[in-house]
Every structure is written in C-alpha cells, then in structure tokens.
Amino acid sequence: MKKLFLTALILGATTLFAQVAKPIEMPYVDYPMAKGDHDEVAQQYCLICHSWGYVLNQGKKSRPYWKGTVQKMVNEFKAPISKEDQQTITNYLVKHYGYETTSAH
C-alpha cells in the first residue's frame, strides 16, 4: 500500500515537470575546420572544451592574438598542450583564421 502511494507520488511529480522529465537532446553542430597544416592537432585539443564555432566567430586575427589565445587556454584553462603543439596550433590558426603582423590584433 505504502509502495503504491509512493509510486503515485512519483508519477504525479513526473507529470508536473513533464518539460524536463527526460534528458534534453542537444543538437550537434558540425562547424567546418580548414584542412591541412595539422588541423588534427587543433581538433585534438581545442575541441576538448569548446566547439569550433568559438574560432569561426572571432574573424581573422593576428599571430599575436592567436598566440595569446592559445596561451590563455593553457595558462588559465589548463589545456594540456605541449609547447610544440601550441606552436602547431598557433601556426594553423594564423594560416587559416588570421594574418601575420607584429601588432597585438
């Protein structure tokens, strides 16, 4: 009897919160990544924490900008990227999503 009552309660609760009674399904977006220049390294590390949408949204950026951004991922967000791979990712970003310059932007 007690068990039945409990079941009814739970069912009641489920109806009340029907909106979230089951997990939501998050769509996956296949943001395009430029091929070549070791895109697999960028894929391996950058996509651990965020979609490629973050990169596409920035527009073209300078080498110092991308270098600083990769460093921020390592220093602040603790991305486990070796020095060599940081360089590879920076080069890839500059080549496909940036430009060479000496200024910060």
Binding site: I10, V20, I48, S51, G53, E76, K78, P80, T102, H105
Partner: protein, 408 residues
C-alpha cells in the same frame, strides 16, 4: 556600403583619427577582406531556431536580429543563451536537486525547488539580462576588434523573473558576523578537472539587497533548460555574468576568493573611464564588470531597410540602465547634428526595457542614419560612437546605436 555610411556620418575628422589609431594595426602583407562566417540557424531544446554561434558550450542568439527589441518582454524561446563550460547536465531531477546555502551561516540549508516555492515568500521582478560582451562587435568602430564572442545586440533580453529573495535565504540560514562575500556556483562544469569552475562572487552587502532573487520562473514558465533550469540568480541592473544558471551553491565567505571568472574574465580597466588606448592588450589593472551602462537599441527599422519616400516610419526600440530609470531617448536622423525626443512608453519597473517610439515622416530620398541615444535620471548618457572608451575584452559597449536606411 555600411562602411561608406558610417564614414558619411562620422565625418572626415574622425576618419583621420581612426586611420591614425588603426595605423599600427595594418598587416605587413596585404590580406583579402575576410569573409564573415555565418553560423547555422538551429532549433535547440525549448527554443525556436536560433543562430548557433556555438553548440558546446551553447551560445545562441535570436535569428530575428533587432526585431526582437520591438517588444517589452523577450519570449523564452527566443531568449539568448550563453554558457561558459562544456559539461552541462542534460537532465535535472527535481526530486534530488538541491540548492545549498552554506559557509559562514548558523544553519546551512539544503532546499528543493519545491521548498523554495512553498516555504518562502514569492517575489517578481521584470529585469534586463545582458551579457557583459553584448554589442562588442561595434568596438571595431573605434579600434581593433576586441577579444571575445563578436556579439551584435543579440546577447540581451528582458523577462519577468519570479522566485525567492536571496536575502530571505541568507537570513533564514543566519549570516554570521564574519560574512563578507557570497560565492555562487551552478551545475555547469569544465571538461577537465583543472579548468577553473564558473564561480562568481558578490559582496555580502549587495547580496542582502531586496531586488536580488533566486528565480524558478521566467515569463510565467519554468526557466528554459538553456537559460538555467531549475534556478538562476537574478541581479537586476547588473550584467549577466553573475546571474549563475542551474544554481546549486550559495556559499557565504569570510574573505574574497580569487578566481578566473571574477579576476581575469569579465573585467575592465580599473580606472575612471574603464578604458585604455585602443589596441593595448590586457596589460592593465582590472576590475570585474558589475552595473550596466545606460543604453538604447533600435528595434525597427534594421540596417539596410529600404523605405518608400512619403511613408511614415515608426522607429521603435528599447532603453535601459542600471536601475536609475530612463529619463529620455533622443533620436537623430541627420548623423547626430540635431536630436529630438522619442515618445517613452510607461515604465515597467526600473530594471526593465523601456519601450520608445519616434514617428518619422520620410520627406526626401537618400541614405539616412537613424541614431538613438538614451539618458537616465542621474544624467548618465550614452557616448557617441567615436567617443566610447575601448577595452580589450570588449565589455559594456553602450555607444549611441545607429542603423542606416535608404529612402527611395
């Protein structure tokens, strides 16, 4: 085309200034004009199809653009979305979900959503939620494009929030003498343990202010999942960064805890203008952003609208500030030479969008810049486009809003 219009109204003087500022930015090699990436429009749970800047973490803005700001309340299914960390639970079980109030309190609390609804006095407030980086793409009018998601005006909305006063929760738990700060944390988690959590803090005096609520309802419904179901903090008049979503922990602290999301992200230069010479990177002493700045946004028409000569245009938009109240919204149709007052709709509480309209009889053909400029009751006024102080993070953009239209 937009460039030409902008130059047209800013005038030659600024152009000179701008080229000096931008001089050091010129790349050493000529580059092709970068094509802006256009993100896809996708329906996320409980949302209409929205522009998906990112899916992980989710960053969404309405596909309607400015049109969203022709109404006083932003619908839940079009409300912008911005998370910081990739691991967000896709299911919250209200039977086990608890909000903890702990730390420097006499009686720690562990409350279900039902407890909040049944044991505390409900309160309601209409308030603007605006990302600190909203509109930051327009900083490139005065300097280099800043760091961060290049939002247009899409990272804001206004909703009716219902919930429990944070003050009531803190008083129920009994704040100890030693309390100085209140730490806030929710269910979004990083992919790696070492990554800093999305942890936010506010001074105890502020946390005890009447208008701050732990909301369980948005526009009369449960909060949409992507806007922080089941609970989110609401800090009227403040930028969105401390409106923690899926709020689970309120920790009263005896001292400030340094953290990435308080001390590094969401910061502006710690000086009077909260700005630096454009182009300088983050090499400055910083402070967290907090109160919003007075702002107006044109909802209609949008840029590049073509209007037939002789038609009456009802220029419409919203204005808001940190909660002092909007005093006036001024409209210019001649590039800022002359201004006339827009008609303000009734105030919907001091933290909400204030709607305004301006009837424009289009008498001559040509290109026109419509500008909107708000002033609040304590005399804060939006800076002109070329006057706004730049910061590397691109936060708190609030310059005069501009749309360019063509009368034919």
């Amino acid at each position: 085309m937009k460039h030409l219009n902008r130059r047209h109204f800013l005038g030659a003087g600024l152009l000179l200034g701008a080229s000096t500022l931008l001089g050091k930015e010129l790349p050493t090699k000529p580059i092709a004009i970068p094509q802006e990436y256009v993100p896809p429009i996708i329906a996320f749970p409980e949302k209409k199809p929205m522009i998906a800047v990112s899916d992980r973490p989710p960053l969404l803005k309405s596909a309607k653009g400015r049109e969203l700001f022709t109404q006083p309340i932003t619908p839940n299914d079009e409300f912008f979305v911005r998370w910081h960390l990739p691991d967000i639970p896709t299911f919250v079980d209200l039977n086990t979900f608890r909000l903890e109030v702990k730390g420097e309190v006499n009686t720690p609390l562990s409350l279900s959503v039902d407890d909040l609804k049944s044991k505390f006095e409900p309160t309601e407030i209409t308030a603007v939620l605006q990302c600190g980086g909203n509109s930051r793409k327009y900083y490139k009018n005065v300097g280099p494009a800043t760091h961060g998601v290049q939002w247009d005006h899409g990272a804001m909305g206004c909703a009716v929030w219902k919930g429990v006063r944070l003050k009531d929760l803190l008083e129920h738990a009994g704040v100890k003498e030693s309390a100085r700060w209140v730490g806030l944390n929710g269910l979004e988690k990083p992919a790696m343990e070492e990554t800093p959590d999305f942890f936010r803090e506010m001074a105890i005096a502020e946390a005890l202010e009447d208008q701050i609520i732990v909301a369980y309802s948005m526009n009369g419904e449960d909060l949409p999942y992507l806007n922080g179901f089941p609970l989110r903090l609401v800090i009227p008049g403040h930028f969105a960064d401390s409106w923690v979503k899926m709020l689970t922990e309120i920790t009263v602290l005896d001292r400030y805890q340094k953290s990435f999301f308080m001390d590094v992200a969401y910061t502006v230069p710690d000086n009077d203008c909260e700005c630096v010479v454009s182009g300088s990177d983050f090499e400055y002493k910083r402070k967290p952003i907090a109160s919003m700045k007075v702002k107006s946004v044109i909802g209609y028409p949008s840029s590049d609208t073509v209007i037939k000569k002789g038609s009456k245009v009802k220029v419409t938009g919203v204005a808001f500030d940190q909660g002092k109240g909007i005093k006036e919204v001024m409209i210019s149709l001649d590039g800022g030479k002359s201004w006339s007052a827009a008609k303000l709709a009734a105030e919907n509480g001091k933290y909400a969008f204030r709607m305004w309209t301006y009837e424009w009889e289009t008498k001559s053909k040509g290109d026109f810049s419509i500008m909107a400029r708000a002033i609040n009751r304590i005399g804060n006024i939006q800076p002109q486009v070329d006057e706004i102080g730049w910061n590397a993070g691109g936060y708190q953009y609030n310059a005069v809003d501009v749309v360019n239209v063509k009368i034919v």
